[in-house]
């Protein structure tokens, strides 16, 4: 009972915010469900890409924002998930369901191997090792022609009949994104999530409290790899093809920027970042080839004026008004 009494002081505001969040999400989901009837097929396809990317960015943020680990090559697990499905569907006669289940699992396994080495290092060294080992995976996929078709990638990947229309892909990615976000949110609010924040704030103190910091970080890394792999599966549904660029360093940098843009400290931050970046790259692509130049300028503005990210900025200024 004292659990309730414990947070009476600031509860009204907290509760209000929780209800507001719930209401907003519900409205948002309803609108998203109606979308395919309101907009052209191209935009439905684009939204499915947004959902895939949002899951990818949110999975990175578990390690980057909550774990405070400079993970520079998350695209690897995205690519591994996508390639697993692509290879199973084109080289074996295994059913589609097996491919969908194995995608995230293989990505998680690769994350376990890479993470096992990386969590032994700290800060920039951690980041450099994620980059180095990630490039190794990229090189294998790029060079192993017999299995991955190398530079050409794998195209026209067969998927079940019911997943061939743009609308069904849209709803599938939407549902999987929502479920994954709920799971990741629960994880972020669990004892595991709280402890992860503690290891980010102060690893030495965490150790003194009996927390196995390395194991904790590795677990977060593997969970993030799993959901990145799931995003890779969604990518195959949306595009029906894979290419080594999925695991490129550029791709990983883009995901990182999405997290920074939306805000590392807010759960929905990376999702917002994904929405902005996917749409922006599409619109900029209509007018110029120099998307990376625009991205660079954007990053500059972000770092100079919104170091907390967009959502991070608004939540912080709102808290200030509330006098907390």
């Amino acid at each position: 009972m004292s659990a309730n009494n414990s947070s009476t002081l600031k509860m009204p505001q907290g509760k209000f915010r929780a209800y507001l969040g719930l209401g907003l999400s519900a409205t948002g989901i309803l609108i998203l469900l109606a979308m395919p009837t309101l907009i052209s097929q191209y935009y439905v396809y684009l939204l499915a890409t947004v959902f895939t990317t949002a899951l990818l960015a949110t999975s990175l943020n578990l390690v980057l924002g909550y774990g405070g680990l400079l993970h520079l090559h998350h695209g690897v697990f995205y690519g591994v998930g996508a390639y697993t499905v692509a290879i199973i569907m084109t080289k074996t006669s295994w059913p589609f369901a097996v491919a969908v289940v194995l995608g995230p699992l293989v990505a998680a396994l690769i994350a376990l191997v890479i993470g096992w080495f990386c969590v032994r290092l700290r800060g920039l060294y951690f980041g450099m090792l994620t980059l180095a080992l990630g490039q190794l995976v990229w090189a294998i996929i790029y060079r192993w022609n017999a299995l991955t078709n190398g530079d050409n990638g794998i195209h026209a990947i067969p998927v079940p009949e019911f997943l061939t229309s743009v609308n069904s892909v849209y709803y599938t990615t939407l549902i999987i994104l929502c479920l994954s976000l709920v799971i990741l949110y629960l994880i972020s609010k669990s004892p595991f999530g709280l402890t992860l924040l503690a290891t980010r704030d102060n690893p030495m103190r965490s150790e003194s409290l009996g927390i196995h910091v390395r194991r904790h970080r590795l677990t977060a890394f593997v969970i993030a790899g799993f959901f990145a792999g799931l995003a890779g599966v969604l990518f195959v549904l949306v595009e029906r093809s894979v290419a080594p660029s999925l695991l490129s360093w550029n791709k990983s940098a883009e995901i990182l920027i999405m997290c920074l843009m939306g805000g590392l400290t807010v759960f929905m931050g990376p999702t917002l970042g994904a929405v902005i970046l996917v749409f922006l790259s599409m619109f900029v692509g209509l007018y110029t080839e120099y998307w990376l130049l625009v991205l660079g300028v954007l990053l500059l503005i972000l770092v100079l004026f919104l170091p907390q990210g967009i959502l991070g900025y608004f939540i912080k200024s709102n808290d200030k008004k509330g006098g907390v």
Binding site: S190, E207, S208, G210, I211, H212
Partner: protein
């Protein structure tokens, strides 16, 4: 409860701890004193596993804990606070303690249970004990220096240790705040029966709370015994006079 025998530790050729010996009986407050650079913090880091000893032994409840990982030593029942404030800066005061309590109960890897309602009573108990309940929802970085220092100690108590190590608990504190810490140490020792090992520069405090004192000088234990014996010890007087004079 704790025995340290012939402990040695060198950093890049510099012998930080040459021969440290210490025994902490159950239920007592023991102080390690010594001039700056005597190796007090190094000794603490060796006991809690944050540094690896070159040789020698640390035994806790007659079990060998030398060079175990810090998280394992914590689960054996050794808690510590730090000389510099070492808290979880982005968490609330409540969450700072709760993190320790959750780890104590080994629930820190539970993925799908809301942390908010977990072990609330036990966490509040620690907060009440330290007079921090009013700040429980505050961000811990908004606390005053003194309150942060109290929180620093409270976090260590969150893991319900049998032995508590306090590394200069009153460093940088005003006389009022120091008195608050002294009372706290006495209460933890007398009412809760906690065994405490502390280092401190404030000699008044040391002779006020400690039942036993160990003197460390240039990495070597030069004396160990009751406060009055230490006060009259020639080698201790020389060590301190040599340092200041």
């Amino acid at each position: 409860m704790l025995q340290v025998e012939q402990l040695r530790k060198a950093f890049d050729g510099f012998q930080a701890i040459t021969d440290a010996n210490l025994s902490v009986p159950k239920g007592e407050v023991v102080a390690v004193i010594g001039p700056n650079g005597a190796g007090k913090s190094t000794l603490f880091n060796l006991i809690t596993g944050h540094l690896q000893a070159d040789s020698g032994h640390v035994r806790f409840k007659s079990r060998e804990i030398t060079n175990l990982a810090p998280h394992k030593i914590c689960h054996q029942g050794v808690g510590r606070s730090f000389q510099l404030i070492n808290i979880f800066s982005s968490l609330t005061v409540f969450e700072n303690i709760q993190t320790a309590v959750i780890s104590k109960h080994r629930l820190d890897r539970k993925l799908f249970r809301p942390a908010k309602r977990l072990l609330v009573e036990e966490t509040l108990e620690v907060l009440e004990n330290f007079g921090l309940v009013d700040f429980k929802n505050h961000s811990c970085s908004s606390l005053s220096y003194g309150d942060q220092k109290v929180l620093e100690i409270a976090i260590a108590l969150g893991s319900k240790p049998d032995l508590l190590l306090l590394d200069e608990p009153t460093a940088g504190m005003s006389p009022d705040e120091t008195r608050r810490i002294v009372n706290l140490i006495k209460r933890l020792s007398q009412q809760e029966g906690l065994t405490i090992l502390l280092t401190e520069h404030d000699m008044d405090l040391v002779f006020d709370v400690a039942q036993k004192i160990m003197v460390l000088h240039q990495g070597r234990t030069i004396a160990q015994g009751l406060p009055e014996d230490i006060r009259n010890d020639k080698s201790v007087q020389n060590a301190y006079l040599g340092e200041t004079g």
